[in-house]
Amino acid sequence: MTAPGGRRWLAIAYCLLFAVGLAVSGMVQPEKVTAFLDVLGDWDASLAFVMVGAIGVYAVGRRFVKAWPRPLLAPAFSNPTPTRIDGRLIAGAILFGVGWGLAGFCPGPALVALGAGTRAALWFVPAMVAGMLLHDRVWAKVARRRAPSDR
C-alpha cells in the first residue's frame, strides 16, 4: 500500500463532486427519475440533459488524457476489456431497467440518498447489495460450473 496519500483525499473529493452533481441534476429524486421514464404520462425530459452534460464533459476529459502514458497517480489505466454484446449484458440491462423503473433509484443516487437518510434508500440499498452478492457469490459460480469453457 504505497499509494500516494493524495489518492485517498482525491477519491473522497471526487465522490463529493459526484454526489453534488447527482443532487443538482435531480438524479437523487426518485420522482424525477420516474418522471423521465414516464414518456406516456407527464414526461420530464430533464434527465436526458444529465446524460448530455455528463457524457460531453467525460468525453472531452478522456480526449485530453488520451496521449498520457499513465494516470497522474497510478501506474496504469485500467480499461475494461472489450467483449461482445451477449445475452448476459442484455438480460442484466433488462433486470436493471425494471428495478430502476420500480424504485427510481440506480446505484449511485441510492447511496447518496442512503447517506441522506431517505427512507426508501434504507430499504433499497441493502436489497441492492444483496442482489449484487447473489449474483457474484451464487449465480456467477453456478454459471461458471455449467459452462467451464466460457472465458
Partner: protein, 142 residues
C-alpha cells in the same frame, strides 16, 4: 415534475467532471456498480479507494441533506416490498450486465462502447416500459 434542463445539464457536467478526474489521476472507470460490488471482496489491491469512494458517496449524501435538504425532493410513497424487489433487481441486473447508469450510461457511451450503448438503450427502454405499465395499465400503482 418541473422541467429543469439547465440544472440537469450542470449537474450532469459535474458528474462527468468527477468521472474524468478519476480517470486522469487514478486511471479508473467511475462505474458505481463495480465499485460497490468489488468492495465486498476481501482481497484486491485497490480495496481502499473503493471503500473511500463509497464513504464519499454516502457521506456526501449526509452533508447534502444537511446543507440542502430540498435536493432530495418529496418522500416517495413506494411500499417496502416494491423497494426491496427493485433493489434486488438493480443489484443483480447491474452485476449480470456489468454496469449501470454511470459505467455504461456515462463512461461507456462517452467511449462509444457498443456494449454500453446497447445496455443503456435496453435499460432506459425497459425502465420506460416498467413505469408505463405501472402507471397507465395497472390501476392503483404509483
Amino acid at each position: 415534475m418541473t422541467f429543469t434542463p439547465l440544472a440537469s445539464l450542470v449537474g450532469g457536467a459535474l458528474i462527468g467532471l468527477s468521472a474524468a478526474l478519476l480517470w486522469a489521476t487514478h486511471g479508473r472507470i467511475a462505474g458505481i456498480t463495480g465499485i460497490v460490488a468489488e468492495s465486498f471482496r476481501r482481497s484486491g489491491d485497490d480495496l481502499e479507494w473503493r471503500l473511500l469512494f463509497l464513504a464519499g458517496l454516502v457521506g456526501g449524501g449526509r452533508l447534502l441533506v444537511w446543507a440542502w435538504p430540498a435536493a432530495f425532493g418529496a418522500r416517495t410513497p413506494r411500499g417496502v416490498a416494491v423497494l426491496v424487489i427493485a433493489g434486488l433487481l438493480v443489484g443483480f441486473g447491474t452485476r449480470l450486465g456489468n454496469g449501470c447508469t454511470s459505467g455504461h450510461g456515462v463512461c461507456g457511451i462517452a467511449r462509444r462502447s457498443p456494449r454500453s450503448i446497447a445496455a443503456t438503450a435496453v435499460f432506459v427502454l425497459v425502465g420506460m416500459a416498467t413505469v408505463g405499465i405501472g402507471r397507465h395499465l395497472l390501476v392503483g400503482a404509483p
